[in-house]
């Protein structure tokens, strides 16, 4: 009899403790999960990306310091109709696994060796310094590295997540909409092709940036860079 009383008392006490415990809303749990992922990225002391779906913006950070913000005009999350599964983000933290294409690099011209004797140095000039001598590394092509970077590219992260960067923000006219529809159709065919080959179709995030920001982002990417999702 006393044993039953003790069991009942313990159960009541446990119920009271559970009832008294503060309830953690899902938003609080999501925020803690997101912050834990960012803490892991910050502790790596490497550059990482932070995607805030609510702003929306993509931040380049390191050690918790914001280095550069890429404003996002529109951010979409998509899942192929063939893929099935839950319509949710698979994780808080991702690692870039896709190979980054090497940008087209300008070739540095080799200077022709001087055939005439050097002019006498100007008064006050440092020895050996010719102020009229052009810096050999300067070439108009060197300014084009940014212009040569792509405006449209796709990044594959692990756990499976595709991020499509489309540098076409502000294109809301009819040709722009048709272009985006064409992009969607191509995505659909790709997904169908993957499915037919028995491969999984990962969920996709589409970020519309300005062309300049898209190019800049491409040049800021590093192999295995982390991407962290921000919770509100």
């Amino acid at each position: 009899m006393s044993g039953r009383r003790r069991t009942a008392g313990t159960a009541i006490l446990a119920l009271l403790l559970v009832a008294a415990a503060p309830v953690r809303p899902p938003g609080e749990r999501a925020r803690a999960g997101s912050l834990a992922a960012e803490l892991g990225a910050a502790r790596s002391h490497q550059l990482y990306l932070l995607l805030d779906p609510r702003t929306p913006a993509l931040d380049l950070k390191v050690d918790g310091i914001l280095l550069r913000r890429f404003p996002v005009e529109s951010a979409l999350f998509g899942r192929s109709r063939l893929a099935g599964g839950e319509d949710a983000f698979p994780a808080y933290a991702y690692t870039l696994v896709s190979q980054l294409d090497e940008p087209e690099r300008p070739k540095i011209p080799i200077q022709a060796p001087a055939t005439e004797p050097a002019a006498p140095p100007e008064p006050g000039a440092k020895p050996g310094f010719d102020p009229h001598h052009a810096n050999p590394a300067v070439s108009p092509a060197s300014e084009d590295l940014l212009a040569r970077a792509p405006t449209h590219f796709r990044l594959r992260f692990d756990p499976a997540l595709d991020v499509s960067i489309l540098g076409e923000a502000g294109v809301a006219n009819l040709p722009g909409r048709l272009w985006r529809t064409r992009h969607r159709l191509i995505e659909g065919w790709e997904a169908l092709f993957l499915r037919l080959r028995g491969q999984t179709v990962p969920p996709r995030v589409v970020l519309y940036l300005t062309p300049q920001d898209a190019r800049r982002l491409f040049l800021a990417l590093l192999p295995k860079i982390r991407l962290v999702l921000v919770a509100p």
């Binding site: 380049l60 999350f77 983000f89 300008p106 080799i110 310094f129 050999p136 070439s139 995505e187 790709e190």
Partner: protein, 236 residues
Amino acid sequence: MSAPFLPADPSRPAPPAYPYGSGSFARVRYRFPWKALLFVLGGLALAVLAAGLAGGFSYREIAAVPLPQAPAVRHGESARLALQIAAQEPRGTAIAVDTIANRLYLLHDGSVVREAVCSTGTGGILEDPATGRRWVFETPRGVHRVQQKIKSPVWNKPDWAFVEDGVPIPKNAAERMDTYSLGDYALYLGGGYLIHGTLYQRLLGRSVTHGCVRLGDADLEAVYKAATIGTRVYIY
């Protein structure tokens, strides 16, 4: 025994005209089946479109997508984590270099205290026609640390400096020494890369270097004085 001639009955309709001409020899014309072709092509286009739509992505605004379910957290967990992230910021001086904008930022406790125009790598390639060796003149992105602080630095010119100038590579080490090109101070970041001064101050703000970060005299002095061995340098 022939059939008796019957007069035409005006109450009966006239037979239809022969469609392929008249006379004793009727021509048979081949008609291309345009309708059938259009039907097949239209069907194919619809099938391709339907395949794209079937495999397509159904998109929604990213802000409405649920985040993963994190495990239960303790009270004040978020605040604790936010503090821990803030604690990762380097105390004291740090340096950030934007290689596209060609700007160097001197940070103190995470805040920008000085902004300087700099020059970074061209991103170009130099090829030695004689040996086929290649060099990429890119400022290395990532996180680095100041490994050495050097006053009145001397540049031990590497092979590419001679290849680029189109002159033979000297065999005498003394001929490689350059005591004037790097300015008054230099911060060594490792891998042969430096933050240093320049003779070409008019080119500051442009991507013209072989990978080092060049600064103007006043900015270089300020950065040199603020930085210590181990100061973090963020290049992006």
